[in-house]
Subunit: 432 residues, 2 copies
């Protein structure tokens, strides 16, 4: 389906022992991120097992193409992402070689840092953050709560629906979630009041980082859209449902969302995901074909993302009792997404809107069509009407102070070494 | 109402002759912008009459507080705006002194550049752009087209409605407007099609630049909101109405807006506007009082902006005939705005959302309650049903290729020297 090269060979092992059999970061993954250790400045690194390879130091040591040194020496990935897919692939091959061939061990090992000692940062300066709504089961589930007979609006199967989010409040995994205050109006109340949200929720999404951008006024053809993707991460679109219900008409969600968006620290590249791509799920019979500017045969054949997503919760009481996080949902991205990543990008730029390297795009909540694969508490508790019971007898309709949410993702495919995304977590703090 | 100091004295003249009696930039204004001349790098300047004072050169010459030199030496105003209102006021006083007192002429005159030789840039790197909807007459006019009996939604008089816009496509006045393509669906069509917008429109707005920001999780109290405003500009929120109608449910406008937003080049400071502030118009009887976090007596007394806004059109045929632009609307910001700038900021940060220096906020379309003060063609032509006739017999429902739109603004008050904003213009180019 998609080209698989030697960097994916299951037999390939790293001399970094912790990488071999690592659930997230074997040598077949090689995701990029930004980290610091001690008082050193933030810099670009590559995850390998329990270690991070310092790519700034690697570039300064002359171990990679010297044309990459400037971009790899910065404290964000924006400039590197602007290099585009050929350089991304070449870097991957070089890193795979350096980290597998014993002959490089002496030179490269000193440039490794234990992950547990590192502080992680946002991978990019995010110029713009856009959130889409391509999870059709999520859109249907949420739509049903408002319009039982007509959950999906007429545009949904023609338009990859999206809206602009807030870039300044995107944070890397681990950022605490201060319960937001805002206007909320109970259905039976005459007037709204301002206070802490009572219906704080999460949304399980994938994030897409833009690689090469496009110029203002120049759309990105669907057939080229994939070349503009630098990589993927996990994204939690924290949502205050009571604020959202009151504010969102007629211009969409605003303060219900922009208090925080969390993303995982490691950017998994399109090359790393190649073995896990699959055909897009066939459109249900009767659905219209995508308009031409969103239609591409290669994308139909390999636009599906075989990424298994999972959300778990750890409450204050569970933490005190030493319990494991409780899994709230599990499901595969490919079956949740009505529109592919390429369709998302092609649509976003179809009016000439300029995407820039390092911009972040959320897919929207990725719920499957099963009760065990719902990507938000709004869906799981049916708008709060059916609270769920946790193993320790606690119940939840929405998130409570002290709750920690952990998103993870894993990719598996026959004949391929599984890879993961690391985690995207956040813990709720009381409103100030 | 608001403190007026010697920088506003009507008797104060500048030794820059073109400033005295200048409609926009007398010495009582002193707006800031970013410009370049020839091959010099972009730098911060202050408009004075037909000239620009190079503030980088001025700072390097030791003519201002040396603690300002770093921020004034950059190619955007972000760092300077982060200095906050005390330094902004002190700079204004110093510039007023330098440009009025003849004794400074010999030192300062060499640092002046003719405006006609300058290229203007965006004043700031815009981290996030948010657009509000506080023009109550606009909201009513537009609402009527969709819901004749119930034009304003129930939240409008409680919530300053806003949504996130696209920062990457904000451009300074003069940027051509490439007619966007997108999905549009005629009411009687079965399916949408992708093609050039047929209902391209403008929206007359004010822009607000953030001065000092707030930290994530820390709301801005309404009483302090004014101190976070660095200045104002004109803003044209170009809109493709056919794309908007089809795409905006349920998450708001997206590709209908993000192909371009134009702003005027000069940032008019809160100090310059002080003589033109007035009480907010009284809320119509029966309207609810603002919730406490949006309520401030000082803001009620002086939150109104006495800014007279004007929109004019120059078509290709008018241009060929040497005709003057035709005025489409005129009206005052204060009477158009249901919520003040301070209320907009306090609401935006009320959930802890972090605003950053240089962020841009649009007010939303500012239409008055008169037929001569409508801020968009959607309102003027009543959704295209009542095309307007131009003086040369051309008609317009929406914008046609070759049309140029020019927004201007002027402030007048008894006992004060009038000031203006310069212009915000853009000309429509055919779709690509």
């Amino acid at each position: 389906m998609t080209m698989i090269d030697e960097t994916h060979e299951p037999a390939r092992k790293s001399w970094v022992e912790s990488a071999n059999g690592h659930p997230d970061f074997p040598i077949q993954n090689l995701p990029l991120g930004v980290f610091s250790v001690g008082n050193d400045s933030a810099r670009i690194g590559c995850a390998i097992g329990e270690m991070i390879l310092d790519l700034k130091a690697l570039a300064n040591a002359g171990q990679v193409d010297e044309h990459w040194r400037l971009a790899l020496g910065l404290s964000t990935l924006n400039a590197w992402f602007a290099h585009g897919p050929a350089d991304a692939t070449a870097l991957r091959k070089r890193l795979s070689e350096l980290l597998s061939d014993e002959k490089h061990k002496a030179a490269v090992q000193p440039l490794l840092v234990p992950m547990e000692r590192a502080t992680m940062y946002l991978p990019c300066h995010i110029g713009d953050y856009t959130d889409f709504y391509v999870g059709i089961h999520h859109a249907t589930n949420v739509g049903k709560q408002f319009r039982p007979d007509n959950p999906l609006l007429p545009n949904y199967k023609y338009v990859p629906i999206g809206y602009h989010g807030r870039a300044s409040s995107v944070r890397v995994s681990g950022e605490p979630v201060i319960r937001p205050k805002g206007q909320r109006k109970a259905p039976d109340a005459d007037v709204p009041e301002y206070g802490p949200s009572r219906r704080l929720d999460y949304e399980l999404e994938l994030g897409i980082f833009i690689g090469r951008g496009n110029r203002l006024g120049e759309p990105i053809p669907i057939g080229e859209a994939g070349e503009h993707i630098a990589g993927y991460c996990l994204l939690n679109d924290w949502s205050a449902r009571d604020l959202q219900a009151w504010e969102y008409q007629p211009l969409g969600p605003f303060l219900a969302k922009n208090f925080l968006t969390s993303i995982s620290a490691w950017v998994v590249t399109p090359d790393a995901l190649a073995p896990f791509r699959r055909p897009m799920p066939p459109r249900p019979s009767g659905d219209p074909a995508p308009l031409l500017y969103l239609s591409d045969e290669k994308d139909r054949e390999s636009g599906g993302l075989g990424i298994e997503l999972e959300v778990a919760i750890l409450t204050e009481e569970m933490r005190a009792a030493g319990a494991e996080p409780f899994v709230l949902s599990q499901g595969e991205a490919a079956t949740a997404m009505y529109w592919s990543a390429a369709q998302i990008l092609a649509h976003h730029a179809s009016n000439g809107c300029n995407l820039q390297s390092g911009d972040l795009i959320g897919t929207g909540t990725l719920s499957t069509d099963r009760a065990t694969g719902l990507g938000s508490l709004l869906e799981i508790s049916r708008g709060g009407k059916e609270p769920i019971q946790l193993p320790d007898e606690e119940v939840r309709s929405f998130l409570e102070d002290g709750d920690e949410l952990v998103l993870t993702a894993r990719c598996t495919a026959e004949g391929a070494v599984p890879i993961g995304f690391g985690s995207c977590s956040g813990r709720i703090l009381p409103a100030r």
